[in-house]
Amino acid sequence: MSLWSRFATNRAAVFGLVVLIAVILLALFAPVMFPNGPWQMVQRPFLVPLTTDGLPLGTDTLGRNVLAGLIYGARVSLLVGLVSTVMALLIGVPLGALAGFYGGWVDECAMRFTEFFQTIPNFALAIVLVAILEPSLTSITISIAIVSWPPVARLVRAEVMSVTRREYVDAARLAGLSNMHILTRQVLPNTVSPIIVMASLMVATAILLESSLSFLGLGDPNIMSWGYQIGAARTVIRSAWWLSFFPGVAIVLTVLALNLIGEGLNDALNPHLIRKGKS
C-alpha cells in the first residue's frame, strides 16, 4: 500500500488534513477576501456575531472585523509554526545526527549542550528570549525555534544511533564510503519518518506557544494573530465572549488537525506498528 492510501484509511487524519488545508487556503486568500487588512475599524465596537451583515463574527473592542482578524491570524499562526519548526529542525537534526553518528566526545558535548537548553523551562526561556530580542515576528519565531530544537536533537540522535547499528551501515563502511556520505545518504534517509511525525506535532506546539506569548503581551503588535485576539479580548471576556471564543476555537481546531495528521503520518509511516482499533 502506498503511503497515501495508508494515510487515507485513517478517517481522523483525513479530517485533520481537510481542516489544515482549509486553514491554509483561508490564510492564502486573506488579502483577497479582506483587502484592507484586519486592523481597519469598520463598524461600531462590540457588535454581536450574526447581527450585522458582512460581519458574521461581529466586531472587536475597536470595531474591527473579527472574521478578518481570524483569517489574517491564520497566516501568522501557520507561518510561525512552520518557520520555527523548520528552524528547529535545522538546528536539531544536524546536531542530533552528529551526536548519534560519531558518539564519544562529540555525543557528550552535543548532549551537554542540549541538556543545557532543557534545564531552563521552555516557556520561561521563550519569554526571556522574546523580551531580549523585543517582540516581533522574527524574534518570536526564533525564540520558539530555540526552545523547540532539543527534543528534535534527542530524537534524531536516538534514531541515528539505532540506524547506525544496522548492518547496511557497516556494509557501507566496508565499501569505503566517507562518514559524511554514510550519514547523509544511508543513515538520515532512514530516520525521516519519525522526524516528519515529530515535525507535524512541533508545528502544533509552536502555534500554541506563539499564542501563549501573544497572550502575555509578547506578540508582534503589527501582526494580527489568534493569541493576540484572545489576549486582547480577555479583559472583555465577560461582556464579549465571542472575541476570545472564535480565535480559541481556531487554535484548538488547527492544533487538533495537526495532531491528527501527525498521528496519521505516524501510523502510515510505521506500518510495522500494528494499528489497533482505528477505523
Binding site: 523551562p121 526571556v128 493569541g227
Partner: protein
C-alpha cells in the same frame, strides 16, 4: 557505596552544569534592553540623570560587565544568590517565599495529570477501538490542543463567576485568620482550578503515552506467556503490561517534573498565584537581574535534582538497571 559515589559524582557534575548555566544566563539577561536602574527610576514617576547614575552605582551596574560577572559567580560559589534592589530583599528570601506556592500548585497538577493520565490511558487501551477509547482519546486530544490560558479563563468564568463554587484566583483567603486544618482546606479550595487547568495538558500527554505504551507492551512475548498461564486479562494488564508500560511514562514525567518550577507562568498569572513563575516574569519586566538569575538557577537545580530522582525511581521499577547484566 558505589551508588553513593556515583550520586556524589553526579551532583558534582550537576554543580558544574549549574555554574555554566548561571554564566550563560547572566549574559542572556544582560543582553536585554534596559537595566534595573532605568526601570526603577522610570517607575518613580520622576527621575533625573543623577538619580539613575546613583542607582547604577548602588547596584554595581556601573562596573564593566566582566567584573559584574565575576562578582556574581563569586557570590554563587558561596551560595549567595545576591540582592534584589528592586524588591529590597535577598533573592534567596524572595524565592523561598514564593517556592512553596509554586510547588504546591505544580506538584498537585503533576500528580493529578500523572495519575489521571495513566488511569485514562490504561482504560483507553483496555477498550481499544471501542467507544470508551474514542471518547478518552478524543477528549485528551482536545485538552492537548486547547491553549492553557484559554482553558483557565473559561474555568474561572464557569466555576468561579457563574457558579460561584470555587475562588477564581489567589492562594488563600486573605486575612481570614485561618490556621492549621482550616487553612489547608482554604488553600485546597484555591488550588483546585489552577491545578486542574495546569494539569489538563499534561494529563493528555500522559494519557496518550500510557495508551500507546500499553498497546506496545501488550504485543510483547511475555504477555503471551502470561496468557498461556491462564491469567485473567485484568491481572495481566495490571501486573505485566502496566508495569512495563510505565517505564517511558516515568522518563517523561521526570522531564516534566523538572520543568515544574518555572513552567507555570501562565497559570500563575491568570490565577494570581503568588509563585516563582510570576516572580520571574515580573522581575524580567523590571530587569531585576539577580532575581531572574536566581529563579533560573533554582529551576535548573530542580531539573537536575528531578533527573536524579527519575533515575532512582526508574531503578526501583526496573531491576535491570543497577545490577550487573
Amino acid at each position: 557505596m558505589a551508588i553513593a559515589g556515583t550520586i556524589l559524582g553526579r551532583l558534582l557534575k550537576a554543580a558544574l552544569t549549574l555554574l555554566a548555566i548561571a554564566v550563560l544566563n547572566f549574559f542572556l539577561i544582560h543582553a536585554a534592553p534596559g537595566d534595573p536602574a532605568a526601570v526603577l527610576a522610570g517607575e518613580a514617576g520622576a527621575a533625573d540623570e543623577q538619580m539613575i547614575a546613583d542607582l547604577r552605582a548602588q547596584f554595581g551596574l556601573d562596573k564593566p560587565l566582566y567584573v559584574q560577572l565575576f562578582t556574581y559567580v563569586g557570590n554563587i560559589l558561596t551560595l549567595d544568590l545576591g540582592y534584589s534592589f528592586r524588591q529590597g530583599a535577598p533573592v534567596l528570601d524572595l524565592i523561598l517565599e514564593r517556592l512553596p506556592a509554586t510547588l504546591i500548585l505544580t506538584l498537585t497538577a503533576f500528580w493529578i495529570s500523572l495519575l489521571a493520565g495513566v488511569a485514562l490511558g490504561v482504560a483507553a487501551s483496555a477498550r481499544v477501538g471501542k467507544f470508551t477509547d474514542s471518547l478518552i482519546t478524543g477528549t485528551a486530544l482536545l485538552f492537548y490542543a486547547t491553549p492553557l490560558y484559554w482553558a483557565a479563563l473559561m474555568a474561572v468564568l464557569v466555576f468561579s463567576v457563574q457558579l460561584g463554587w470555587l475562588p477564581g484566583f489567589g492562594y488563600e483567603t486573605v486575612g481570614s485568620g485561618y490556621g492549621g486544618f482550616d487553612r489547608a482546606i482554604d488553600i485546597l479550595k484555591h488550588l483546585i482550578l489552577p491545578a486542574l487547568t495546569l494539569g489538563l495538558f499534561f494529563m493528555a500527554v500522559y494519557m496518550r503515552m500510557t495508551r500507546a505504551s500499553m498497546l506496545e507492551v501488550a504485543q510483547q512475548d511475555f504477555v503471551k506467556t502470561a496468557r498461556a498461564k491462564g491469567l485473567a486479562p485484568a491481572t495481566i494488564r495490571r501486573r505485566h503490561i502496566l508495569r512495563n508500560a510505565l517505564l517511558p511514562v516515568v522518563t517523561l514525567a521526570g522531564l516534566q517534573a523538572g520543568q515544574l518550577v518555572g513552567g507555570a507562568v501562565l497559570t500563575e498569572t491568570v490565577f494570581a498565584w503568588p509563585g516563582i513563575g510570576r516572580l520571574m516574569f515580573e522581575s524580567l519586566a523590571a530587569r531585576d537581574y539577580n532575581t531572574i538569575l536566581g529563579v533560573f538557577l533554582v529551576s535548573a537545580a530542580m531539573v537536575i535534582i528531578f533527573n536524579i530522582i527519575t533515575d532512582i525511581v526508574y531503578r526501583l521499577i526496573d531491576p535491570r538497571i543497577g545490577h550487573k547484566a
